[in-house]
Amino acid sequence: MGKTLFQKVWDRHAVGILPDGSTQLFVGTHLIHEVTSPQAFGMLRDLGLKVAFPSRTFATVDHIVPTDQRTEPFRDSLADAMIKELRKNCSDFGVTFFDIPSGKQGIVHIVGPEQGITQPGTTIACGDSHTSTHGAFGAVAFGIGTSQVRDVLATQTMALSPLKVRKIEVRGKLGPGVYAKDIILHIIRTLGVNGGTGYAYEYCGPTIEGLSLEERMTICNMSIEGGARAGYVNPDEKTFEYLKGRPYSPKGKEWDVAVAEWKKVVSDADAIYDDVKIFEASEIRPTVTWGINPGQGIFIDEAIPSPEQLPEADRASAKEALEFMKFKAGEKLAGQKIQVAFFGSCTNARISDFLEASKFLKGRKVAPGIRAIAVPGSQGVSKICAEMGIDKIFREAGFDWREAGCSMCLGMNPDQLVGDEICASSSNRNFKGRQGSPTGRTLLMSPVMVVAAAVTGKVSDARLVFAKS
């Protein structure tokens, strides 16, 4: 009987079974950032413990770091204190820190792959739910809480119970103007925001295989929004090609050994899955959310559903969403005025996102009165965008081009919505208050749709807006 990648990686990293019946799982690579780690280091100090394997932990600053100021002290004294705390913790405990002057700083889920730290067949943990992003490389990656960050620092292990595996097969060809973001928004909408509870999602099938690594990251990133604890894609030649030559990738003879190992972790053809779901790519259209959770989405040419049309379990939440968003059932999202366009986050702020969008943005202008900001996911992305002239296209169009960080994805820094502004956003969460204003309204969509909204000043079908380009 064959095994899935998840089972192979789990078995290989299991230290043993703990008294409560859970598994002690070894964490191959641990990533940390400034918001969820300081308390963990504090607990470590209280317990008089050291970091067990400092070379397996990597740190960067992303959540709170300002994107418009790079000299310290930062205007926000709390942000300043949090970053200094991380710097001190890394130096006290011997952890590698991709600090601002390193040129490698950025959103932790973009930095890991970019540096070649994210590798197939390993386990990755980070005190951030979107750690699932790293699954795009065939790693099993878990978002964890701060006490678990402490556990991983102190022991390089954590207590966890195994997951079931749901195979999500996507087949067929995506239509023009339909992107990885639309695939995952569609999957979440179909399977529900808690449909993945207890599962790891294995994304596979010809459509997924046809995606670039960056696109696969967009899909794995949002696994958590579907309730799954992890999401992954089996590694293939594209994965190896992406990793080859990156700073932390194996080199020389070690590279060949690593690739041979990575090929072995791929799910067996006769692997048994706990569940299988199949999606047809051709049925997916550009998707935009209208509500307050990522499952409340519709195709751009559909109307907002009325709660009565939805399954009973979803009605209360839909009602609450309509009230909060100030939308009416039956209305279309297309044509809704926006005030802010946010291009960024670990879902969609990689080079391919900026490159694709820049093709359409070139020569166009952000509509008057729209606040549009573009935030590269890392200093690495920023540098390449500058080399390719992509930043210039965004600037000339009227986007505010920022330094790397999470920015308005969660509004922990000054990049926030004001009042009940509507934001066309390439990020992953549309929860009430997510973008920094308790009444702010977030519409999730693909980066190209964000650009279409920015230039028209309203939610628009990018396929129509950019029809002639």
Binding site: T122, G145, A154
Partner: protein, 201 residues
């Protein structure tokens, strides 16, 4: 770390109705700008407890009739979204000892268990009955029996579920895994030798 076992939690309840209450709602990111968890209780549900102008919205947490409640009662998929431990920390630091809901997001559940905050799952039907009972008579004492996986409240008595490992951990006082993890460090070191790590060259 040997902690006291948690076999039973008794207290008054507060109903925070609604499904999919996410961790951004439980503790908005703006209040996570801190390097300790101290004082987080104050910001529990902050954005829904106050209007942007700072006026009280009469959220159940601030409703005098629920004052002193130690058991939080909510709907389906409670704690979804961000993995921030700040969420269960805020709940615990606001004085809560347990949560009863229709279901929990996994990371939230794990984080809560580690803090010794049991998260019991009830069926929709039992939950609805419990909610209306508590709304009608907030002085009703609610008891969660962690061993028997059972809740009693006034005339109500119904089963709840809790992942076995969490239940075992709570009952044995080993819900914080650190001691058990540390005990196996020699074995961990041996395994580490076989698992490649990312190194710069």
């Amino acid at each position: 770390m040997s902690l006291s076992p948690i076999a039973q939690v008794t207290g008054r309840g507060v109903v925070v109705a609604g499904d999919d209450i996410d961790t951004d709602r439980i503790i908005p990111a703006r209040y996570m700008r801190c390097i300790t968890f101290d004082g987080l209780g104050e910001y529990l549900f902050r954005d829904v407890r106050q209007t942007p102008e700072g006026k009280s919205t009469n959220h159940p947490i601030d409703d005098p009739k629920y004052k002193g409640a130690t058991i939080l009662i909510s709907g389906m998929n409670f704690g979804c979204g961000s993995s921030r431990e700040h969420a269960p920390q805020a709940i615990a630091r606001a004085g809560f000892k347990a949560v009863i809901a229709g279901g929990f997001a996994e990371i939230f559940f794990g984080n809560s268990t580690t803090l010794g905050l049991p998260c019991a799952t009830a069926t929709r039907k039992d939950l609805t009955a419990l909610m209306s009972l508590i709304q009608k008579d907030p002085t009703t004492l609610v008891t969660i029996d962690v061993e028997k996986l059972h809740v009693t409240a006034g005339p109500l008595s119904f089963p709840v579920s809790l992942k076995t490992s969490a239940q075992q951990g709570l009952l044995s006082g080993r819900y914080d895994a650190i001691a058990d993890l540390l005990a196996n460090l020699p074995k961990v070191k041996e395994l580490a030798g076989r698992i490649p790590s990312a190194t710069a060259s």
